[in-house]
Symmetry: C2
Subunit: 696 residues, 2 copies
């Protein structure tokens, strides 16, 4: 798929120009610089450009054309696209700007182009982009200034400017590229299409993406999950989505913040997120040239204590394990390193270490079965020979399947060594912390690669019942449901305490006697969000008399506090005792759909905001990950002699909630708050619920 | 102070050599390369080195000598130092290794050298160091390969190797140095002495330090607090101190972890801590050439959306404010920037922006009173002229006292622009996140500079009483005190509930009646740390009968659970109701002395480890800082309609605790856990205490 796009036999440049400085000239020059297929300049005003015969339209070109690059003013684009379709061209790169990004009129034009392309079954990159290129076919269908060095990194960028910066960086560091795509307005092809296309592309070992938004959240997760099993996908996602575009009435909504959905999506699909350009570059530099470590046991070799300690600190900070060297390794090191050296991890070969000593130490440590990867640090001391040490690393790398990440710390003196590393195709890190960070992310990728995706469980539920409740509410003009939605939970196997809704004081008493005192009374109203704030909750009612008093007081208080609210009655509920309070929730993300939340109730969610999110549908592993992902999960595991909580049942609740919101896209927001979790084996109960449905 | 060390009129090189590759030759060559004072090579085996007359000893030198650099084998050093003393030399740089770092014998030799130096009133840098240098006097008394460019950064390094790396970095980036000191073993002069010396050195604008340990914690804080008012002090402190060197029996001790004391010391003294070398370099590059911003309102100018968004994200992440541009600024921008540009912050001058447009935008935004600092981003797009944009920034910088931090993102294409920035003395950042981080730290420094230090309050206390309790315990061989230490708190104005220690069941009943039921009974034993774990706590005893039963049960349970423990009796204490539980504690840090801890009790301290530390003595601001520094401070301010807690009184408790542990260095560890904090105005009460004192 998209094979011919990067490896076309012929390319037309619609809007080719002989005028230096014009984009139509830059694209042509880039193609002429190495591309061996046929190049057809298209321009009605020229007969010949740069020695190539020029055609008025693609229709005039005698042979077939695989790819057309369009660099003409936007209003001329629809016609040109139509001609491409008639000519049978399958792939278009529309560099021209003046579409969706300039407003309504441009958006209309872009839709027109899309429709034409679709009618001919053509695929489009752009419009409003820098173009695409492939270093192996030398097909540079972009106006980027230079072809980057050839390599195994393929990149998708939603910012042309950052694209040029990354190409420029690639040139400076010799991190080589396979394909480069500037997405522009993503009228047709988007990041997902290219990830999918590169999944089985042997030339691409690492996929990088700079994204500002994702086109189809669901498909992104499905595709990225597959792709990240075969090669690392590293993404910078910038731009926090503006929260508050829609009024948020749930806890879950207000906690979801701007980036929770993206973070969840990346986590669930195995995409590695970089926060900064430095992290992005560092990971690209590591993954492109180093094997993925088998585990997280790291050895450090250094010619000085200081950077060794810094690397050790950083390993600890990032959660890597410092390898314990075997007795054999230590003994072997002792035979050759000077007595003042350190034979344990970090191995300090000392400031005057010869390249030979570095070689010996590196080879010895590489052999240790307890070492999964090595950081080789070098500082420019009096006797240091950076070039020779770089050679040592380059040679050692050929003999091993463990990553050896170099960290030559310094400036000009180390540059020659860094150049030798480059010649060996090895990326250098100049900061002990950054090299440790990269190793950390490589070990994380090893775990991602090993993941086995399990389909979400499907429970036997009463879907019809929920359908009816939602439809009925909607018919009554009610879009926010409170306690009256408890049956929705029950229909999906999320039990609650015994309860009954009563519409009079006598009815309430009857209900209380059926359920058995003590009971809790809660106001039922579609208009009241925080029941306790208006006096709408009374706990611990233990007899008829107390109930009557409480009922009358509640009616008075609620009417006083919320005069215009509709009161559907009161809920009489069994008293809950013991257990821990947690909150389950769901918020609909515009890109990714239902986003499930989990946290401990009360202060933990309100002050600490200690919650976890995952995109539905959840499988069992996702649900466990949410529970063990909160900082306070020990609270559920049992601290200070307490018995552990029923985490298994909580996991099932999360899965059932996931099924519910997946089955009913009409549910926009949901809080189940609190859910009481009892001791292991004793289950959970939902005590209250609140859900918002889409209007008719 | 130390003036002559960096600006000597004459230098002797003891161990000067004509042999290339020897350190004695390297030092001499470095001095010959620009230093204009007198140079005296000292070597009994040579008559002349590099055209200079050579002397057998310093005593033979005819004129006075300000500084001697010693590069001879360690065992010869004492004699050489004695001769330096006799000659009247005041400053020694001992480069020679073979001292404390090689073991007991070396340590002995180092002490001998120290003693000799002290007897002659000489000051020493080293031994086992790289040397010192000053770029302004061109006195390079080190064996570093090259002199760094001259500038206003002075640096202290405890790792010679990182020192060489930093010098090499300086050379590559043109960040210029004033003084450089490699500390070596710190036998005499240490980081504090140099900070103090550079405080009033007009050539030093920024102080950098790479440290692995601090020599005198108390003095470090006092000096750094003064120095950081006049110039930023940026420290990388590596190497986590190994916790567990001493058995820790308190909460406070186990929470203090490895780095709490250093973090506290840096915070309290206004030292800015860098976690990584990149942060270290970035801050050096910012502070050396940019004015400190007046506030934290940042404007961003960019030629592309992508990096603009990344910088915006980073500003938000680091807690900077995006400036709201004034109407005048926006209107002015609209007059000249193209219509598709963004006139709000970030200001996007678009990809084809000329240097002229950059200049216009920069000058316009600089004028805005609501902008404290500017980040200027540039990416290498087709029309981008990095050199001219760099010139624009260089020129603008001359006209303003606001920092303008450039971020040229890319590689080779941007290098020429970066070179022009360097020529203007401006450091470039190649990552939007790193430039935002640096601006953040510059705004933090602005706050540090404005700090006013207030002396700790002294309360009127009963010191004598505490002295007696401690002495008595110690005489009885008791070094860990529990409830029997409540009088210690009372003596320092930290009240507790009514209580009495009873030694029999009848005595206990008598006490309970005096105090008034309900009461709490707790076992009193110097051998029991966790009373409730052995059945040593019973709450809610409401009459004599319950008391008798509880007493008998407690004696049985405790004796069963801890058969060999000494029981001093039981404590009968008034029941505490209401209030919030907090924990106050103290742990003695080997470098910095008493480290005070504060946190909310129970789960918050045990699972969340949400605590704050400060080094005693605390002033009021420190104490407030601790309380508002915990993540859950809202719990004390009143959430969900609760009344706020008595934070004022809690502050006073912290200050009183600080006074106690400062007055009594014999107290090694202390937990006051729990302290009950009541509503504002209603004070606090210590319910339990545990303290460890040093043995006789």
């Amino acid at each position: 798929m998209l094979e011919k796009m990067f490896n076309p036999e012929s390319v037309a440049v619609i809007g080719a120009s002989h005028v230096k400085g014009k984009v139509g000239r830059a694209v042509l020059d880039n193609l002429l610089n190495g591309y061996e297929g046929k190049i057809y300049p298209i321009n009605p005003k020229s007969l010949e450009i740069e020695g190539l015969k020029c055609y008025k339209t693609v229709l005039e070109v005698p042979g077939p054309i695989d790819l057309a690059v369009i660099v003409i003013p936007s209003k001329l684009v629809p016609q040109a696209v139509r001609e491409c379709g008639e000519k049978g061209i399958k792939y278009l790169v529309i560099i021209s700007a003046g579409f969706k990004e300039v407003g309504v009129e441009g958006a209309r034009l872009e839709n027109e182009v899309k429709d034409i392309a679709r009618s001919f079954n053509m695929r489009i990159v752009g419009p409003n982009c820098l173009g695409i290129l492939n270093t192996h076919t030398k097909c540079n269908a972009s106006f980027a200034k230079k072809m980057p060095p050839a390599g195994n990194v393929s990149i998708i960028t939603q910012s042309g400017a950052l694209g040029t910066a990354i190409l420029d960086w690639s040139d400076a560091t010799d991190v080589g590229f396979d394909c480069f795509v500037s997405l522009g307005n993503k009228s047709d092809l988007n990041e997902i299409d290219f990830m999918e296309a590169w999944k089985n592309d042997d030339n691409t070992k690492v996929i990088l993406a700079y994204l500002e938004g994702i086109t189809d959240g669901r498909r992104f997760i499905d595709v990225a999950r597959e792709v990240s099993k075969t090669k690392p996908v590293i993404v910078v996602k910038s731009g926090r989505t503006s929260a508050g575009a829609r009024a948020v009435s749930s806890h879950t909504g207000s906690l979801a913040g701007s980036d929770a959905a993206y973070d969840s999506a990346f986590m669930q699909s195995g995409v590695i997120r970089a926060e900064t350009m430095s992290e992005f570059y560092d990971m690209a530099g590591g993954f492109c040239c180093q094997p993925v470590p088998r585990g997280d046991r790291v050895a450090i070799i250094t010619n000085a204590g200081g950077p060794g300690i810094m690397a050790t600190d950083a390993c600890e900070r990032f959660g890597l394990r410092l390898a314990t060297l075997s007795k054999e390794t230590v003994d072997a090191l002792k035979t050759t390193l000077p007595p003042a050296a350190s034979f344990y991890n970090p191995v300090d070969v000392l400031g005057d270490a010869s390249p030979h000593l570095y070689k010996f130490a590196l080879e010895t440590v590489l052999k240790d079965e307890g070492v999964d990867g090595i950081l080789v640090l070098a500082t420019p001391q009096a006797m240091t020979d950076p070039v020779a040490i770089a050679e040592v690393i380059g040679e050692a790398k050929k003999t091993t399947d463990k990553p050896i990440l170099p960290c030559f710390v310094g400036g000009l003196v180390m540059d020659e060594g860094v150049a030798v590393l480059k010649r060996h195709g090895i990326y250098n890190y100049d900061d002990p912390s950054r090299v440790a960070y990269t190793m950390r992310m490589m070990t994380r990728y090893q775990k991602i690669r090993q993941r086995v995706y399990v389909e979400p469980r499907r429970f036997d539920v009463d879907r019809e019942k929920v359908r009816k409740i939602i439809d009925n509410s909607r018919n009554m003009g009610i879009t926010v449901l409170g306690l009256e939605a408890l049956p929705v939970l029950e229909a999906y196997g999320i039990p609650t305490l015994k309860y009954r809704i009563a519409t009079s004081v006598n009815d309430a008493m009857q209900a209380a006697r059926e359920i058995g005192y003590p009971i809790v009374m809660k106001i039922v109203s579609p208009d009241i969000i925080h029941k306790s704030d208006v006096g709408g909750v009374k706990v611990g009612i233990s007899n008829d008399e107390e109930l009557e008093n409480a009922y009358n007081k509640m009616m008075k208080d609620v009417t006083l506090a919320a005069p215009r609210c509709r009161i559907s009655g009161v809920l009489i509920q069994q008293m809950a005792t013991g257990g821990k309070e947690v909150i389950l929730g769901m918020n609909k993300d515009p890109q990714f759909g239902p986003l499930i939340m989990f946290g401990l109730g009360g202060i933990y969610v309100e002050v600490l905001k200690d919650v976890q999110f995952r995109i539905a549908p959840l499988n069992e592993k996702d649900a466990y990950g949410m529970i063990y992902g909160i900082k306070t999960h020990q609270m559920l595991e049992g601290t200070r002699g307490e018995k552990p909580s029923d985490i298994e049942k909580l996991v099932e609740f999360l899965e059932r909630l996931s099924q519910l919101v997946t089955d009913f896209p009409d549910i926009l927001e949901m809080d189940i708050n609190p859910v009481k979790v009892y001791e292991k084996g004793r289950g959970c109960l939902a005590l209250d619920v609140r859900l918002a449905i889409s209007p008719k």
